[in-house]
Symmetry: C2
């Protein structure tokens, strides 16, 4: 009650000083990095409809669940998924200081930069690198390692930290939705513990609203009596494709009314969202801007956008044309 | 902003009418069903310490995570787990109308009430009953079935709906914590989709704050083009014992600062909570009241309270003596 009171006093002061207020005639554009057009209009109209008290499409705040893919939707994903860049750096660092690991062919190839041997190791080789990079430490040690990497590693093309390659228009959209009572979630094929390290700082999304792929962990009490969770080199769940609605049901337990993705890996999540009753918003980021970012879709190895683009076009879902709809790409 | 304004107007009216307010000199006891004593005092003192702005033990609201076991902690669990009662009723109903299911020995025994045959089928037989009861339908159909059962089934001893066998003191504790900025979670060995059906109505805990055991589900698009999630007869994760810290890490991604349980199945959750830095609260409900509820602990088949009771006593965790500490048990 006291914290409510403080909030009210602050609100009264803000209003008195002329800030904010949806009813104010001088209100600022909540989506300044979006060009005027069909995509932006579809967003603001949807939010207006579901938040209009007494309107036929009103949705109470507790049901305003919005889910966002991460790679290619909230931040870039080229030339390789950023978590893959982390896995390579991390595996290299581990191999360079551990002679035992160097006995394993794929890890030796990684350290030597032997591309032919790496390619020959195929999917199994990649899985071995990922397993080494993400296991063998406690969950807390892992978070520290990711934190160190994410603040120091730089993207090869832009020479900026990866967390600066988030999309400014999507940051504005997340904040706009939250200001309108939505609970914003990440539902990503990436590792849940990887994303949580920076999601709150970068996206304003707390750990408990990050859903992702996850590996096995083991609870154990150390010799010092201290309990830890050890990360094991076993993937338990891949939160991609048909796994996304499964994870949404498992972690959130409510169906989103808004979902945003950028690839066929988001198709099932968007179908699941579309199939609910009442007002729905399905959005896709279409990477059309080779100059400011990248241009790719149906033929891309990463972030392939094909079947879901057809369904979006057929059903009138919102397709954001990055080149045309975004005034600005990165912050 | 508009909804904030409405909330403030309502708050101002309430205050004008003399309701509520922690700052009021006539403030009501937030835990009226708790007798005065060490247990109640340990709770209110902990909350005061972690919410005191500027205090050395202050915890910001986003880190005020509280996790509660369900069976035996928030509601009763005797003579059998309530979800087991559901599984039996549901399996019987299914078997009675499906001749195919009647061909399976354990299900035939269940329908006939053949206790000897049921006992002989052992753990495997029980798993078969649980699988039949919880699978073969969509997640939405399952929620409807549970909802129908929970509103109509009655407890054999008390002849009341199971949802009336929740503990009034714990309902007050949940509300008290939330009023002090805590996010309250259920972390239960029960099925997450089972508990979510009534958690919001009964406990004020929304679906996304219920963590539990879960089975496999399969996303599929029906012949009518409608996507559904089908529940499969495979358990993926048991959220009990050492699984509880694993699930807390997986679903919440933050360590609780307060945890409450009642059995050795909660031991790991309490150890995990205790091992964090800063102020911590570990609580146990000790079932000591055979008259109003049940009295059981170290020798009980259900809700065995043994090793964790030793650790609680050794480390000064709060052990709630139901008979002594609770003025009232059920609402």
């Amino acid at each position: 009650m006291l914290s409510d009171l403080i909030r009210c006093v602050v609100l009264a002061l803000l209003l008195a000083l002329g800030f904010g207020g949806n009813g104010s005639s001088t209100r600022a554009d909540p989506l300044p990095s979006w060009n005027e057009g069909a995509a932006k209009k579809s967003i603001t109209e949807f939010v207006a409809r579901v938040t209009a008290q007494g309107g036929v499409e009103f949705v109470p705040p507790e049901l305003r669940i919005a889910t966002f893919d991460n790679d290619g939707t909230l931040w870039a994903e080229q030339p390789i998924y950023f978590q893959a860049a982390f896995a390579i750096d991390r595996a290299k660092a581990l191999v360079s200081r551990d002679p035992e690991l160097r006995k394993r062919d794929v890890l030796k190839a990684l350290l030597k930069g032997d591309r032919a041997a790496l390619a020959a190791s195929g999917k199994k080789g990649l899985e071995e690198i990922v397993a080494v990079a993400h296991a063998g430490v406690t969950t807390e040690e892992y978070a520290k390692v990711v934190s160190g990497w994410i603040t120091s590693a730089r993207h090869p093309r832009f020479n900026r930290p990866y967390t600066e390659l988030v999309y400014q228009p999507m940051l504005e959209l997340l904040a706009y939705l939250r200001a309108n009572g939505f609970k914003t979630y990440i539902v990503s094929g990436g590792g849940v513990e990887f994303i949580r390290v920076f999601a709150e700082r970068v996206y304003g999304i707390p750990p408990e609203q990050v859903v992702g792929s996850y590996g096995a962990t083991k609870f154990q009490i150390g010799a010092d009596g201290r309990p830890t969770l050890i990360k094991l080199p076993m993937v338990e769940f891949i939160d991609d494709g048909a796994g996304k609605p499964v994870a949404i049901n498992r972690f959130i337990g409510r169906r989103p009314i808004l979902a945003f993705g950028n690839s066929d890996g988001d198709h099932a999540m968007l179908q699941w969202t579309a199939a609910g009753s009442g007002a729905r918003f399905m959005g896709l980021v279409h990477h059309t801007d080779g100059e400011r970012e990248w241009a790719y879709d149906r033929k891309s190895r990463i972030g392939k956008l094909d079947k879901v683009l057809d369904e979006a076009n057929a059903k009138g879902w919102t397709v954001v044309d990055m080149k045309r709809d975004w005034r600005r790409v990165f912050p």
